[in-house]
Structures are given as structure tokens and as C-alpha cells.
């Protein structure tokens, strides 16, 4: 079918109704009954391969939860022309199964999801195709394309749960997190206020948010990126929908939490028979959990089928490249192989000789004979709230929200990886480091500048030196400006180049982050999540600052683009000696790019050291736990277990 689809797309690039859609194959997808899969999934790692589910499930073929066929969607751009976003996409989801849509950034994954829940952007136009929601208990089968708004109300939220891609802007900012999560409950159940609250706390707890009762009373802007994402997940599953659409639900989550979420989704599949449309760029996750895979590229289906087959015997060249690019597999394999010297960064890291904690930073002998590291942080404290011990959290000690007494150094020309669970204070450090937050106490020195004490001129020099790539690119880009002008802005502010030269620089910056320079004219809302993230990176890099703080900067990118970006920043580092602080939950990526790594937990620094050492011989139990939760697709699993000695 992939061949056929490609032909269809090729033959009819204008996007009118595909004549092929009616002639497509009629063989049913081998489906699996979640209940037949036993309790294996989500409880331990001895998972059965999706292929096996497919075989067992084939026997009790249930009607699908969702059938998408021949879906084609165009976007009208501001200049009036139509840009095709989807071409003849088809997919089926059986009850209790998970279909993962993977593909490069901008390939149309989010568009597919939005189309299923009927919430396409204003300028989108469905040119062809149908979306059918299967029966569910008493509820009838529905042609979603023909629903009235009134009918939609009974479908959305109740029968289809939706987890949006961008957590930064997807929560109502003036409502508490609890109230945000409770919305579906209010809409679709008759629960009392107390019952709702209990359920909300339970849900927040289930998605791994600590101190759920307190978190429910906080406002979205008081949560970390990962927490917001989880709050959205909690909201989507609140009423046990028949179909769950999860658009990159774990992109901002560290591996431990990611595992918890994935387990939760498995549980839902198993217990409630929920069908899941799982959108991700992370092949490892897809491989580990999905029953079926759908590889999309430039709006059409490249290849689809059971996950195990696709991973083992990819047919299309694109799928093969995706697999090859996946850093998690590469690096972890390498990690397992030679014990900590894999990855291009390691040689440099060795040279730096482990500028570890803040305490011993003074003594570190810098690379290239430099007397001082570029970045020096000590005693950094920003306490939003201190949470006292409570009954449910007896062993947690006194917990804080924010960061407390954090110190580290970063040598010039090296990369510090900042890892840690969601909400551990990574972004707070990033913001403090880049001068967006004046911490309550502590010292930050970058080069000759003291970040906590900047006069007007100093601030300007500081901005020239330090750049932050925000965790939520959607909210960090001004909606009224084109992305091109957002990228140009630092150039203009620092008076770099003439007007014409700046145009060229912007185009080059876009090209470097693998974006078509023609996208420069678009507004942020007309771009996909990954594209926005790359725009944010381009903006930070365009003035080639000395220090760049990447806050989850590649989390929404598919492996291919991610690899390209990582290569880009690596190249810049080599060329210009840039220094990076790389915040990521993706240990594989950190392993690849970082020289030294600092591990955070609950606002405190847990462990720090050269990346090779920390990853191969973690000292702290927390670090071990973190490393142990990395998803293990396919062959790598057994290997990892041994390598990490868990």
C-alpha cells in the first residue's frame, strides 16, 4: 500500500480526490484484543513483541475504533494559495490497540490528529477523505466528517480524548490546573464538586505529578513544562474515552515519567479497551509500545504495518533512515558496547577533566589553558514554595518547589547536559542563567559578567553573550510577527549586517535548521510544533552567542531533523568554540552532545561529572533510576539491562 499511496500522491499532487481510494485493499488489519495480551505490558520489560499481539488479535477481529481513509487536507496560506498538508492518509485503530504515527517534523502528524477530532485550523480545508468513529457500547458508529456541532459535543472529550502537542499554551491560564483537568468531568459526568476534585487529584497522581493535591491548586504558569504536559494527559483521560489521540504526549518528559505515562496508556488500553492514536517522533517509544506503525512523510503515508515488522524489515528507505538516525538506539548501543566513550563529544569531555560540582570548580584545569570556566554558578536558589512533609509523602523529606543551592561550572567550548525529572528545576536554572530570572540568592558568572547584577549596558552585553532557546517555542514567538522577522530580530538589535545581508542570514539560519526559507513569511501559528522549535533554535544561534542554553530544544523533533540539528550545534561548537547548556530529558541525546552532565532532582543537584562517567558509573540511586527507565526497543533491551546493571 505504501507504494500505491506514494503513487497516488505523486500522480495527483494538487490534492483533489484520489481516484485510488476506492480501490484500496480490503484486507482487515490483524488486530489484537487487549485483554488477550495478559498483564505483561507496563508492568515489566519482558514485553511481547507487537507482531505477536497482531497474530493473537487476528482471531477476534473487533470493529475498529477509528477508521481514517483517503484523508487529504490543504492549508490556505495568507498569500491565498493552498499548501497540501495531507494526501490520502488512511489508518485504522482497533479497540485496545495503539497505532503510532511517526514521521519527520512538519509531515502532517498533528494535522491528522486535528482532523480526527475535528479541530483543524481555520485555514485548513479537508479536500477529501472520511473519518469514521466505531461503535462504543451503546453509542453508534459515526461519520465524523458529517457531525453537527451539537453531535460533536457528545463525541469530543467523551468518546475521543485529545492530548495536544504544545503544553505551553494549551491550558487555560486563569484557571487552576485542577479546574483545567476537571473540565471534561464537568462536561460529561454528573460528579459532585468533591468527587471531581478527588478524581482530579487521583488523575494528577496517576500521571506522575507529585503532590497532586497542591498542584491542582496551582496555575498553569506555575508548573514546569513536563507537568503541564501531564496535566493535559490527565485531562484527556479523565472520562475514559474510547479513542485517545496523543500528540507527542511525552516529548517534554524525562524517561522515568515517560515510562509512567506509557504504562498508564497501556493500562487504559488493557482495562478500558481504549484505542490510541499515538503521535511521536521517537521511534524507540513507538517501537516499544505501539501495535502498528504509520510512517508519514510530507503528508503522505510512507509505510505502515505492525510495529515489529516495520522495525525489523523496513521496506521504505525513509523508514530505514529514521531507524538509523535514532540516537537512543545508536548511543545506547554504543554505551553498551564500549562503556562510555561513544559519541562525538566524549573526547572533548575527557579533555575538560570533569568540571563537576560547584565546589571544586575553582580547581578545575580548563581546556586550552583557560584559567576560568565560562560559566560559574554557585548557591543558586529560587524557591517558589517549600512544601512541608505530608502523610502521603513521608519519605520525601521537606520538599521545595524551585531550586535550592545549585552550583556547577561549564568550561568554554563544552556542553553541559542538564538532566533530571520533570519539575526538578532545569528550566529555572536555564532562565536564571540567561538572566530572565533573578534568583533569590546565589551567584552566576558568565565570562566577565555577573548575571545577577547587570546594569543596562551589562545586560546588553550579556544578551549578546547568552541566548536561551525556550522550552515552549509556541509561546516564545510573537504571534504578530513572521518567524523570519523573529529570527532577524537579534541581528537587528545587535546591528549585525545590512538589511539585505540580514535577509540572507535569516535564510541561511532557516536552512541550517532544516527549514525551507520560504517559511520565513509565516506566522508562528502556521507552523508545526517541530518547525517552531527549530525557529527558536535558529533565532538563538543566528547571532552566534558564546553561551546557548537549550531548554528541551529538540524534544519535538524527529530523529532525522534532530540529528541534523545536533550536528549543527556540534559544528558551531567546534568552529566557534561555543558553550552550551543542554537541558533535556532525553538521556540518549544528552549522552551524545554533552561533555559534562548535571543531574537534578526535586530542585537539588544530585550528581555531576563527565558524561561518560555519570552514564556508565552513576553514583547516586536517583541517577541509576533515571538511566534505568530509558525505553528499550527491540534488540537493545537485553543489552541495556546488563550495561546499566539494573
Amino acid at each position: 500500500m505504501s507504494e500505491q499511496n506514494r503513487q497516488a500522491a505523486g500522480a495527483d499532487p494538487t490534492g483533489s480526490a484520489s481516484p485510488h481510494s476506492a480501490t484500496r485493499g480490503k484486507t482487515r488489519t490483524p488486530s489484537e484484543n487487549p485483554r488477550s495480551r495478559g498483564s505483561a505490558i507496563g508492568t515489566d520489560y519482558s514485553i511481547e513483541y507487537p507482531e505477536e499481539f497482531a497474530e493473537t488479535a487476528g482471531a477476534h477481529a473487533q470493529p475498529p475504533v477509528l477508521t481514517v481513509s483517503g484523508l487529504s487536507i490543504d492549508y490556505r496560506t495568507r498569500s491565498g494559495e493552498s499548501v497540501p498538508a495531507l494526501r490520502d492518509v488512511g489508518l485504522t485503530i482497533r479497540p485496545g490497540s495503539m497505532t503510532a504515527v511517526v514521521g519527520e517534523s512538519g509531515s502532517g502528524k498533528t494535522t491528522t490528529a486535528s482532523a480526527v477530532i475535528g479541530l483543524l485550523a481555520e485555514n485548513a480545508q479537508v479536500t477529501d477523505g472520511t473519518v469514521v468513529l466505531g461503535t462504543y457500547g451503546e453509542e453508534p458508529e459515526l461519520d465524523l466528517g458529517a457531525l453537527s456541532p451539537r453531535e460533536w459535543k457528545r463525541v469530543r472529550g467523551r468518546r475521543i480524548g485529545y492530548i495536544p502537542q504544545d503544553p505551553g499554551t494549551s491550558l487555560n491560564p486563569v484557571k487552576t490546573v485542577g479546574a483545567n483537568v476537571a473540565e471534561s468531568l464537568r462536561l460529561h459526568t454528573a460528579l459532585s464538586a468533591e468527587a471531581r476534585r478527588a478524581r482530579v487529584v487521583e488523575l494528577l497522581d496517576r500521571v506522575g505529578i507529585d503532590r497532586a493535591a497542591m498542584r491542582a491548586d496551582q496555575y498553569p504558569h506555575e508548573l514546569s513544562g513536563g507537568m503541564r504536559q501531564r496535566a493535559l494527559i490527565a485531562a484527556a483521560i479523565a472520562v475514559d474515552p474510547q479513542l485517545l489521540i496523543a500528540d507527542e504526549p511525552t516529548s517534554a518528559l524525562d524517561v522515568t515519567v515517560q515510562k509512567r505515562i506509557l504504562d498508564l496508556l497501556d493500562e487504559l488500553r488493557r482495562e478500558a479497551g481504549t484505542g490510541i492514536l499515538f503521535i511521536t517522533h521517537d521511534l524507540a517509544v513507538a517501537a516499544e509500545r505501539a501495535d502498528a506503525l504509520l510512517v508519514v512523510r510530507r503528508g503522505h503515508v510512507e509505510e505502515s504495518g505492525p510495529a515489529s515488522r516495520l522495525l525489523r524489515h523496513p521496506e521504505s528507505a525513509y523508514t530505514r533512515r529514521l531507524l538509523a538516525d535514532a540516537p537512543s538506539m545508536q548511543s545506547l548501543l554504543a554505551l553498551g558496547g564500549d562503556g562510555g566513550t561513544a559519541g562525538g563529544a566524549d573526547e572533548a569531555a575527557d579533555g575538560v577533566a570533569a568540571a563537576s560540582g560547584g565546589e571544586d570548580s575553582g580547581t578545575s584545569a580548563g581546556a586550552g589553558g583557560e584559567a576560568r570556566p565560562l560559566v560559574e554558578v554557585s548557591g543558586l536558589t529560587q524557591v517558589y514554595a517549600r512544601v512541608p512533609r505530608d502523610e502521603h509523602d513521608a519519605d520525601a523529606g521537606e520538599q521545595i518547589i524551585g531550586i535550592e543551592d545549585v552550583g556547577f561550572t561549564v568550561e568554554r567550548g563544552t556542553t553541559l547536559g542538564l538532566v533530571g525529572e520533570s519539575g526538578s528545576g532545569k528550566s529555572t536554572i536555564g532562565r536564571a542563567l540567561t538572566g530572565f530570572l533573578t534568583p533569590q540568592s546565589g551567584a552566576i558568572r558568565v565570562g566577565e559578567l555577573d548575571a545577577t547584577r547587570l546594569d543596562r549596558r551589562g545586560l546588553r552585553a550579556f544578551r549578546r553573550t547568552v541566548q536561551l532557546v525556550h522550552q515552549n517555542p509556541a509561546s516564545a514567538l510573537d504571534p504578530v510577527h513572521s518567524v523570519g522577522s523573529s529570527i532577524e530580530e537579534p541581528l537587528r538589535n545587535f546591528r549585525i549586517g545590512s538589511k539585505a545581508e540580514r535577509k540572507g542570514l535569516v535564510a541561511r539560519a532557516l536552512d541550517r535548521v532544516a527549514l525551507d526559507p520560504s517559511l520565513a513569511a509565516r506566522r508562528p501559528r502556521e507552523l508545526s510544533g517541530g518547525q517552531l522549535q527549530r525557529v527558536a533554535i535558529a533565532r538563538a544561534l543566528v547571532i552566534e552567542p558564546e553561551l546557548v542554553v537549550f531548554d528541551e530544544a529538540v524534544s519535538a523533533l524527529d530523529v532525522t531533523v534532530q540529528a541534523q540539528i545536533l550536528e549543527l550545534i556540534d559544528g558551531l561548537q567546534r568552529e566557534l568554540g561555543l558553550t552550551y547548556v543542554f537541558i533535556s530529558h532525553d538521556l540518549a541525546v544528552v549522552r551524545q552532545v554533552a561533555h559534562t552532565v548535571t543531574v537534578m532532582s526535586a530542585g537539588r543537584l544530585v550528581e555531576s561529572g563527565p558524561v561518560g562517567r555519570v552514564f556508565s558509573q552513576p553514583q547516586e540511586a536517583y541517577t541509576k533510576r533515571l538511566l534505568g527507565a530509558i525505553p528499550r526497543p527491540l534488540e537493545t533491551q537485553v543489552l541495556d539491562h546488563q550495561a546499566l546493571s539494573i
Binding site: 469530543r156 472529550g157 495536544p164 462536561l187 497542591m214 491548586d217
Partner: protein, 347 residues
């Protein structure tokens, strides 16, 4: 909070003083004075000398700073002085005018809010499109109707033609209906306009999308998601409407023959009746400062992002603590209190 309030209260007093002074200055700038305006009125037929003698007895010929100081010290001791135009005590005039205006202002404001919300909702959600579009234009229509004309038409039709309410010695409620209507229509225009824009902006936000994906209908979202977010600019406008109320009262009270601050202002301006005008300024300022203080205090209530960081945590935990006390779960009260104290020490 207490510190903030005290600060604002201090500022309020300053505003009061400045407004008073500014108004006094403006009145000095206006040529002629109330005494002259009154006693040189041809209806009295007094000669120039006679007028001058009376002016002297009023002290109207004293230098401005003397007059200013006298009136200021009078105000500080609670003596509002006497109307130059009628000789009546300003306190009497104000006391008899204030309740009626306050009543009209409250009812007019309430009606305006209701009207504005209705217009904004219909303009944002109305079906079919042309209806919505018609309501979208309603604010600009409302504001370009001359108030006096509106009042006259309303009176002509509802009272004189249809006889629903009487204009002559109406009951207290009856006397309020038509002026309220007249006041509310132009008053609602800016509010509705801002609401329409704010609603449109909020509806374009991603989180509204997400709420829609939860199965919320437009009406539900309007009530639970949109309004709160659209309220901030609307709140500002609502605070400003106080001024419009005073200005609107001038015309409305004139048209409807209601005694009130508005009518008093119009007369006082026309007669250069400085003591009355200054009293009006003081009343208006107090009203304004209070209303806008309220609005400023409401901003952070409406939009939690505007709360000070530390304070939010404290507030959230206090609520949590209270709830925990009630339900017996959650962090202990003392714990919450301790955290609060810590916070204050840090701040």
C-alpha cells in the same frame, strides 16, 4: 497586601488633593467668576458698582492663592461652602443630589453590563453570520447616537406615546427605568466593543481549542473559559465607565429632569459655581479612585499571572491549608503558616 493597600490609599489621597488643586486651577483659568456670573446677570439689573461690592463681600476679588487656600482649608475641615449661584449650602445640594445619581449610576452600569455582554455574545456567537455581524456593529452604532436624542426619543415613544411610564412625578422605580435605558446604551458601547475583541482573541487561543476538544460547546466555553480571560480589558473599561457615568448623567439627568450630580455639574459649570464644582470634583475623584483601586485589585484575581510570585504560592497554600483542615487531609495548617512566614522573611 496591607502594605500595598496602605500605599494605594496614600496615593489615593494624593490623587484627591491633586484633582482638587487641578480643578481649582482650571476654575481660576476660566474667565470671570461665579459671583460675577450671578450678580451681573441682566435679570438682576445691578450696576457694575453694586456687583463689585458683592464680589468683595464674597472675597471673589482676592488673589487666587488666597481663594484656593480658603476653599482647601474649608474642605479639610469638612466645610464645603455655599453655592455662589444659589447661595444654598453645597453640602445640602450634594446630599440631595448624590443618592439619586448613585442609584442611577448603579442601575445604569448594571444595565450597561448586561447589554454589553448580550451584544458581545451575540456578535461573537450569533447565527446566522449576518446577525452576528450586525451585532458586531452595534457598539459603534450605540456610541454615535446622541444621548440627548436617545433620551428624547425614548421619552417620546415610551412615555408620551405609549404612556408606559410617566415623566411627571413618577415613582422611585418608575423614574429610574427610562434614564437607566438611556444611560446604558452609550455606556455599553465601549464595554461591548472591547468584549467582542477580547472574546475573539481568546477564542483564537490554543487552550480554547483544547477545551473544545474536551467536548465543550461554545456556550460552555464562553462561561467557563472565555469570559474570565476576556475580562481583563473589559474590567479596565468597566472601571473607566465610571467617568462615562458621570458624563452620561449630565445629559441624562438634564433630559429626564432628575436632580443629581450630573445636573448639578452642568449647572455649576454653566454658572462658574466653583464651590459646587469643587465638591463634584471631590466626589468624582473619590468614586474614581475607589473604582479604579477595585479594578486594580481585581486584575490579579482575574489573571493569576499578574500575582506576585511568592504571594500566589502563599495564597494557594493557605487555601489548601483551609481545605485540609476541613477535610482532614493535606498539609497541616501550621506547616502552611510556617511557609508563609518564611516567605515574608524572604520578601
Amino acid at each position: 497586601m496591607a502594605v500595598y493597600l496602605a500605599g494605594r490609599l496614600g496615593q489615593a489621597l494624593l490623587v484627591l488633593f491633586l484633582a482638587y488643586t487641578a480643578a481649582s486651577m482650571l476654575l481660576m483659568i476660566l474667565p470671570g467668576d461665579g459671583v460675577l456670573a450671578r450678580y451681573a446677570n441682566p435679570a438682576l439689573g445691578l450696576s457694575g458698582e453694586q456687583v463689585e461690592a458683592i464680589r468683595q463681600s464674597y472675597g471673589a476679588d482676592a488673589p487666587w492663592y488666597v481663594q484656593y487656600w480658603q476653599s482647601l482649608s474649608g474642605f479639610l475641615t469638612g466645610d464645603l461652602g455655599y453655592s455662589v449661584n444659589s447661595g444654598a449650602a453645597v453640602s445640602t445640594l450634594v446630599a440631595s443630589a448624590l443618592p439619586s445619581t448613585a442609584l442611577l449610576a448603579v442601575s445604569g452600569f448594571a444595565a450597561a453590563v448586561v447589554l454589553a455582554v448580550a451584544v458581545a455574545v451575540l456578535a461573537s456567537y450569533g447565527k446566522p453570520r449576518w446577525l452576528a455581524s450586525a451585532f458586531d456593529s452595534a457598539p459603534s452604532l450605540f456610541i454615535s447616537v446622541p444621548v440627548f436624542w436617545l433620551g428624547i426619543v425614548i421619552i417620546q415613544v415610551l412615555s408620551f406615546q405609549l404612556g408606559w411610564v410617566t415623566m411627571v412625578s413618577p415613582g422611585p422605580l418608575e423614574s429610574l427605568i427610562l434614564p437607566t435605558l438611556t444611560l446604558a446604551i452609550p455606556l455599553s458601547a465601549p464595554l461591548a466593543q472591547i468584549l467582542i475583541r477580547a472574546i475573539a482573541e481568546v477564542r483564537a487561543q490554543p487552550f480554547v481549542h483544547v477545551t473544545r476538544a474536551k467536548g465543550a460547546g461554545e456556550a460552555w466555553m464562553l462561561v467557563h473559559s472565555v469570559i474570565r480571560n476576556a475580562m481583563l480589558p473589559a474590567l479596565t473599561i468597566a472601571g473607566l465607565l465610571f467617568g462615562e457615568l458621570v458624563a452620561g448623567a449630565v445629559v441624562t439627568e438634564t433630559v429626564f429632569g432628575r436632580a443629581g450630580i450630573g445636573a448639578l455639574t452642568a449647572q455649576a459649570v454653566a454658572n462658574r459655581d466653583n464651590p459646587v464644582l469643587l465638591a463634584v470634583v471631590v466626589i468624582a475623584t473619590v468614586g474614581f479612585v475607589l473604582v479604579n483601586l477595585l479594578v486594580d485589585l481585581l486584575y490579579p484575581v482575574v489573571d493569576p499571572r499578574l500575582r506576585h510570585r511568592g504571594r500566589v504560592g502563599a495564597a494557594a497554600r493557605r487555601r489548601l491549608g483551609a481545605r485540609a483542615q476541613a477535610s482532614g487531609t493535606g498539609p497541616s495548617r501550621t506547616g502552611a503558616d510556617r511557609a508563609d512566614q518564611e516567605e515574608e522573611i524572604r520578601a
